[in-house]
């Protein structure tokens, strides 16, 4: 049997730690994502899932640990056309009108050289990306005239246009209605079929659930679960299941999706 070179993993993070303004937020994060995997990063508000994605994309510097993307140490990594990023945001609008096509076109920057016009391949990739998210008829419209879900899809098309191999999406389904979530699921399904690696931050998976290969659950800045996808109660239910009725002494802050009912009162 011929010996083939082992393809490096898209993401390899060992002992990752992140501190924001000196305050430790993430610690002991070990995460390896293999090519073609669809990973859902889950957890309550403030559990550090968005921070982890920001650390993996370099938007947040690591306070400790080693990160490599596609086998290259992060500091030396400059092959950004292999990476796509959909930030968490409510609106794609800015102070000056911009059309959907222009927003998506900025996703091709990783393939373009300075002072060069768009090539035919660039234009085709932009049109394709807009088509995949179902905004074909809106391509020439200003983004500020689109609904929130459509703006979110425009941002996804922007990341798609660069034809990346590794995709980061930060809460793409937040505040998006069901038809738009279905459209998003279909777009991500096509992406997955092409062999892309996807890391998605989500509160609730909804229509994305069948696509997910692996769930990573965070709690208080640590990884507490890494394995096959879970149902809702496993993620958001209490960490320790007590047999005895247990009353918290400290007032607790619950996230909107966390159930405040006591485990004994029939959570599961």
């Amino acid at each position: 049997m011929p010996v083939t070179a082992i393809e490096p993993h898209p993401i390899e993070l060992t002992n990752g730690a992140v501190a924001i303004e000196g305050r430790p937020v993430l610690r002991d994060i070990n995460l390896t994502v293999c090519t073609g995997e669809f990973v859902a990063l889950m957890g309550a508000n403030g559990s550090g899932k968005s921070t982890l994605v920001r650390a993996l994309t370099g938007l947040r510097p690591l306070a400790g640990g080693e990160l490599s993307l596609f086998g290259t140490a992060f500091d030396d990594f400059d092959d950004w056309q292999r990476v796509g990023f959909v930030p968490q945001r409510a609106s794609a609008a800015s102070g000056v009108p911009a059309s959907v096509w222009e927003i998506v076109a900025s996703g091709r920057l990783t393939h373009r050289r300075l002072f060069r016009p768009l090539s035919r391949a660039d234009r085709a990739a932009i049109d394709d990306a807009i088509e995949i998210v179902g905004l074909g008829e809106k391509a020439r419209d200003g983004v500020s005239t689109l609904s929130g879900g459509q703006q979110q899809r425009a941002l996804i098309a922007r990341a798609l246009a660069g034809a990346p191999e590794l995709f980061f999406l930060d809460e793409p389904t937040a505040g998006v209605d069901l038809p738009n979530q279905l459209a998003l699921a279909e777009a991500l399904g096509r992406l997955k079929a092409r062999g892309a690696t996807i890391v998605l931050v989500a509160h609730e998976l909804g229509p994305l659930e069948p696509l997910v290969d692996r769930a990573v659950v965070m709690r208080d800045g640590r990884l507490v679960y890494d394995g096959p996808p879970l149902n809702h109660a496993d993620v958001h239910g209490p960490h320790h299941v007590h047999d005895e009725r247990h009353v918290d002494h400290a007032p607790r802050v619950a996230s909107p999706l966390e159930s405040i009912t006591h485990p004994k009162d029939g959570m599961r």
Partner: protein
């Protein structure tokens, strides 16, 4: 003096060239500033540049060059404060602005120059522009236009979404600084045309006018350049002709003409947007479709292209807006026609 004589004057010809190049260059940077919601940054840099001009007067160096240097330094400091994102960043900017203006007036006094001389820079003096200043103006304008348009994809992406730009491998800090420096350069370029106190107007007002009518960034940028050129050239010509009757300075005329463009563009733009929103096709919702019923009222005419009722697409047919509700023609199997409420 006839108009032909006026345009034959070398001073007028120099002024015309300066007006065109600044009218083209200032809105380019202005578009990026408006996109970043930093419309007043040009104004602040104008104040800082006053100190630069005064420094030139004091040291005997060319005020244009000292203004460029001080404005660029000011831009770098503003960018630094902005990047730090300190909670009272706008207060820090205000300190810089007023410091710049006060320092400029103070230094001018010390240098023994009259306030009227500084006034040339504060409110512009197109007709006194010399050949060497004109060459500097043209060269700096060319730099601004080439970088502002040539790097448009990068500058657009950075201003639109910094985080995305960073993950695309763009050097965000460099581009932020570049916009700040280009803004400082445009301020000093436009200094002779409209003056430091009105400089921001030539950068921002054409963009504000242009974006009333556009849907894309590209069209906004090009439209702003056209409006900027019309305003600065038109303002100069109007003020030159009006000067036969009264003292009309070109600077304020240019700014007022740009504002006039905005005043015209605004109602047209809101009318267009209203119209576009009105005829936006209705979405098709199969679940609601079952609830459609016939409209009970009497109908004295058949809806059609000429009936005067607003026609809006709805899936595979057209709805007519009638007294606040929507009529769609429904032909039954028997051939009978009536209107359904959609």
């Amino acid at each position: 003096m006839t108009p032909a004589d006026l345009f034959a004057l070398p001073a007028m010809q120099r002024a015309l060239i300066a007006a065109v190049v600044t009218g083209l260059a200032a809105p380019v940077v202005g578009t990026y500033l408006v996109q970043r919601r930093l419309a007043l940054m040009g104004d602040g840099l104008g104040h800082v540049a006053v100190t630069g001009v005064a420094l030139g007067l004091l040291t005997g160096a060319s005020p244009t060059w000292t203004a460029v240097i001080v404005a660029v330094l000011g831009a770098a400091i503003i960018e630094l404060i902005r990047e730090r994102g300190s909670a009272n960043g706008d207060v820090a900017l205000a300190l810089l602005f007023y410091g710049g203006l006060a320092g400029g007036v103070l230094l001018t006094g010390i240098s023994g120059q009259s306030a009227a001389f500084l006034g040339q820079y504060l409110f512009g003096s197109l007709l006194t522009i010399g050949i060497s200043d004109l060459i500097v103006t043209m060269a700096l304008s060319a730099v601004v236009i080439v970088l502002g348009i040539g790097l448009a994809p990068q500058l657009f992406a950075v201003a639109q979404d910094q985080e995305f730009a960073k993950v695309s491998g763009l050097r965000v800090r460099f581009y932020n600084l570049l916009v700040a420096v280009l803004a400082a350069v445009s301020v000093t370029v436009a200094m002779r045309t409209v003056g430091l106190l009105l400089v921001s107007a030539l950068m921002v007002v054409p963009v504000a006018a242009s974006q009333q009518l556009t849907r894309s960034f590209r069209a906004t940028l090009l439209g702003a350049m056209v409006i900027g050129t019309i305003a600065s050239l038109g303002g100069l010509v109007i003020s030159a002709f009006a000067s036969f009757k009264a003292t009309v300075a070109p600077g304020p005329t240019i700014v007022l003409l740009a504002l006039a463009c905005f005043t015209v563009a605004w109602p047209i733009g809101s009318l267009l947007r209203r119209r576009r929103r009105l005829v936006e096709p209705f979405p098709v919702d199969p679940e609601v479709e079952a609830l459609y019923g016939a409209c009970p009222g009497e109908h004295d005419h058949q809806h059609g292209p000429a009936c005067g009722h607003l026609a809006i697409e709805h899936g595979d047919h057209v709805d007519y807006v009638h007294d606040g509700h929507r009529h769609a023609v429904h032909v039954e199997a028997s051939g009978e026609r009536h209107y359904d409420e959609h």
